[in-house]
């Protein structure tokens, strides 16, 4: 890091006229070494940046500290019979363009420093009488030793546009009061510090976020663990069953399960959700065969209901969701496990058999350790993706209405994961500030899990155990 800046200082100290001129006109150093095209390009970039910052982004950046002070007002003019709107501040635009402007300034500074160093190295080359690349040679380098720049530029821009900017924006929103009552352009929102985080952990008669948050967090963690391990074990068992030596038509069986992956989840999950609805087909069948009556007499379904509340009562819904998730997840895990099972060295299994191990022992002592070794890191990935398993929960519980006032107060449901709760808060309640707080918490959980998995599985050098 220090060298980064000392190199920059050296470039200024030892630079000749052209190099020092580059401090003002970035292309100057290239002009001096007869790299005309590159010089023009650099100068154009500099010009574009200065113009954009001065004309567009600066007026937003300078208002970032307050996020705007002039509220929108419409004045009806009786003479012209038209409405005029004052010159109001739009907090959303200020924050968004402010963030973009700052990112641009940051990127420009990096480019600027890099440019100075490069210009200086050109000067050194010239002094030493070495060859200086022509523009054509520079272009050729872009498909050779600098090929990574060609490959990474566009994807990186995409990631910045679709990931980095939105994430920084939403993280900022967690520290503002951007919600239903503060929606631009009509109203302003502003910084409130850690107020939202405090609200997330308080629970009293008016604010129930703390109460709801703890319950949803527990369910989210419980769900992700159960969902991951049940489908993981189920997938391995199914893969083992299909790949058993005595089983015929392996391809057919596998295809049957693969088809269920292929149908988009929003189709299958909505469909299954309707099947298990209060007056859905499953309930009709349960009614006809007397299961509902039996459940009532066993006390599992309260007497007032004429149906089994598969997806409409807490408790029932939790169990049903986990069971339905088996249907979703096992084929995926089966596919992954199949590939790995086929890789287990046959001699190992054979020698175990000769030594008199039975199938169960082989499964427990050879297959499972091998699977765990190979899929260990991906288990953590699966855990993280189950914490973020939006589709299954959202689609299955679209008809669920919470019976609890406290949950309703925070626009949550008992069966919500953090991620679906976040979605409801943004899309139905426009409560962006609390949604952002949840998002940051989810990030913290996922980051912790990933860090653990990295230190546990990657850091220890066990790669050669099975080679």
């Amino acid at each position: 890091m220090r060298r980064y800046f000392t190199d920059f200082g050296k470039a200024i100290k030892n630079g000749d006229v052209w190099t020092r001129l580059s401090l003002i006109v970035m292309g100057a150093g290239y002009f001096g070494r007869k790299q005309i095209v590159k010089g023009i390009l650099m100068t154009l970039i500099e010009l574009g940046f200065v113009l954009f910052t001065a004309r567009v982004s600066w007026q937003y950046i300078r208002r970032l500290n307050t996020l705007g002070t002039v509220q929108r007002e419409e004045i009806f003019d009786p003479l012209t019979l038209s409405k005029t709107v004052n010159d109001y501040d739009n907090s959303l635009l200020i924050l968004l363009l402010g963030v973009i402007g700052i990112i641009l300034i940051f990127a420009f500074v990096v480019l600027y420093i890099g440019n100075m160093k490069h210009v200086y190295s050109l000067q050194r080359l010239k002094e030493q009488g070495k060859h200086i690349n022509t523009f054509g040679e520079d272009l050729a380098a872009l498909v050779n030793e600098k090929f990574h720049i060609t490959l990474l530029t566009l994807p990186a821009l995409g990631v910045i546009l679709i990931n980095v900017i939105p994430i920084i924006f939403m993280v900022c929103v967690a520290f503002t009061n951007y919600d239903k009552d503060h929606q631009p352009p009509t109203y302003l929102f502003t910084w409130v510090g850690l107020e939202n985080f405090e609200q997330m952990f308080t629970s009293n008669t008016t604010v129930t976020f703390g109460f709801v948050f703890v319950r949803i967090l527990i369910w989210t963690l419980f769900w992700s663990v159960i969902a991951t391990f049940s489908t993981y074990i189920g997938g391995i068992l199914l893969a083992k069953l299909i790949n058993d030596r005595v089983v015929k038509l392996k391809k057919l069986w596998r295809s049957i399960f693969v088809v269920t992956i292929a149908i988009p989840q929003f189709v299958t999950m909505l469909l299954v959700g309707k099947m298990f609805g209060d007056y859905g087909i499953v309930n009709s069948i349960c009614n006809n065969i007397g299961l509902t009556g039996w459940m009532q007499s066993a006390g599992l379904v309260s007497d007032g209901l004429s149906y089994i509340p598969f997806l409409s009562k807490p408790g029932w819904a939790h169990v049903t969701i986990i069971l339905i998730n088996l249907w979703v997840g096992i084929p995926y895990q089966m596919l992954a496990a199949t590939g790995i099972l086929l890789n287990i060295p046959e001699e190992q299994l054979e020698s175990a058999r000769i030594d008199g191990a039975n199938e169960r022992q082989i499964f427990r002592k050879i297959i499972m350790p091998y699977m765990l070794f190979v899929t260990g890191p991906s288990l953590i990935t699966a855990l993280v993706s189950n914490i973020n398993n939006f589709n299954v929960i959202y689609l299955l519980t679209s008809d669920y209405v919470t019976p609890s006032m406290k949950f309703a107060n925070s626009s949550a449901k008992e069966v919500d994961l953090l991620i679906t709760w976040l979605f409801t808060l943004t899309n139905q309640e426009s409560n962006y500030k609390m949604a952002s707080v949840i998002g940051i918490i989810v990030f913290a959980i996922c980051a912790t899990l990933t860090l653990i998995s990295f230190s546990r599985f990657i850091a220890g050098n066990r790669e050669e155990d099975y080679q």
Partner: protein, 280 residues
């Protein structure tokens, strides 16, 4: 005797499991042939059989359901996203796996950190950004949204590239091949499974996603919708009574090509998943 029993119970179990896994799909299929438009709650199989739902889907677009237009939109989006994403993923994987440059490790750590932010959170902000650029409510905007961040999904592909022997690349370099030549002539031809995997995945993403589409496309005119979004709207509370069987027909139409693709590509798919996983 013991062996015969072994065969029988294993096949029996497989049959039972297959039936369980097939029930929803069978129901989807038979409901798509039902003469009753709403959700059939009393009978598994429809009372009267008809092909009307398919006819309505394809030839009688109305103010809520316009399947031909949805299909066209999704197809355009799918193709472009597929092209861009595949290019991005392969490029990023090659740069990070086969080339060595300053900041490579930091870039990889950074991408992993980015991936841990919940996507649902940034959705609304993506919408704001797209609106700012003037691309919200358009197909181009959706293409940008679906393919823009695809470079982050390089991990599996990079894991595969890592397994290609470095000696191959070294010897090509000695022969005077540029990185571009090594990439297109050596690495790409050796990576068929992973390319198929990437292509399928990126093509399917827009067909499966209804959330982002619903957020981005505010148009009330069904001509502008995608398949996923349109079908999702058909089962909203006010419409489900009249369109449920049409929804099922749409589901079947979408599912058939994807299923065929999946079953054929199964082998590649397995190699794709595990090829990356083994490397961790």
């Amino acid at each position: 005797m013991k062996k015969a029993w072994n065969i029988i119970w294993k096949h029996g179990l497989l049959i039972i499991l297959s039936v369980i896994w097939m029930i929803p799909i069978l129901w989807l299929f038979v409901t798509s042939l039902s003469g009753y438009k709403g959700i059939n709650t009393m009978h598994f199989f429809p009372q009267e059989w008809t092909l009307d739902n398919y006819k309505q889907l394809f030839f009688e677009p109305d103010t809520v359901a316009n399947f031909p237009a949805w299909f066209k939109n999704s197809m355009i989006i799918g193709c472009f996203v597929c092209l861009i994403s595949t290019f991005f993923v392969l490029g990023v994987s090659y740069a990070l796996s086969c080339m060595r440059f300053r900041g490579r490790k930091q870039l990889m750590s950074f991408s992993i950190i980015l991936g841990m932010f919940p996507g649902v959170l940034s959705m609304i902000a993506i919408y704001f950004v797209m609106k700012l650029v003037g691309l919200s409510d358009s197909i181009v905007g959706l293409i940008v949204v679906y393919s823009g961040a695809s470079g982050l999904g390089y991990l599996i592909c990079k894991g595969f590239f890592d397994t290609i022997p470095a000696s191959l690349r070294e010897s090509a370099k000695l022969e005077g091949a540029s990185q571009l030549t090594i990439f297109t002539r050596i690495v790409i031809p050796l990576s068929k499974p992973i390319i198929v995997y990437t292509v399928i995945n990126s093509f399917l993403a827009p067909w499966m996603d209804f959330v982002m589409a619903k957020l981005m496309i505010k148009s009330k005119n069904p001509v502008d919708w995608t398949v996923a979004m349109g079908l999702y709207k058909l089962v909203e509370r006010t419409l489900v009574g009249n369109y449920f069987s049409v929804f099922c027909a749409g589901g079947i139409i979408v599912a058939i090509p994807i299923s065929v693709l999946f079953v054929i590509m199964q082998k590649f798919y397995v190699e794709g998943i595990t090829g990356g996983a083994v490397k961790g």
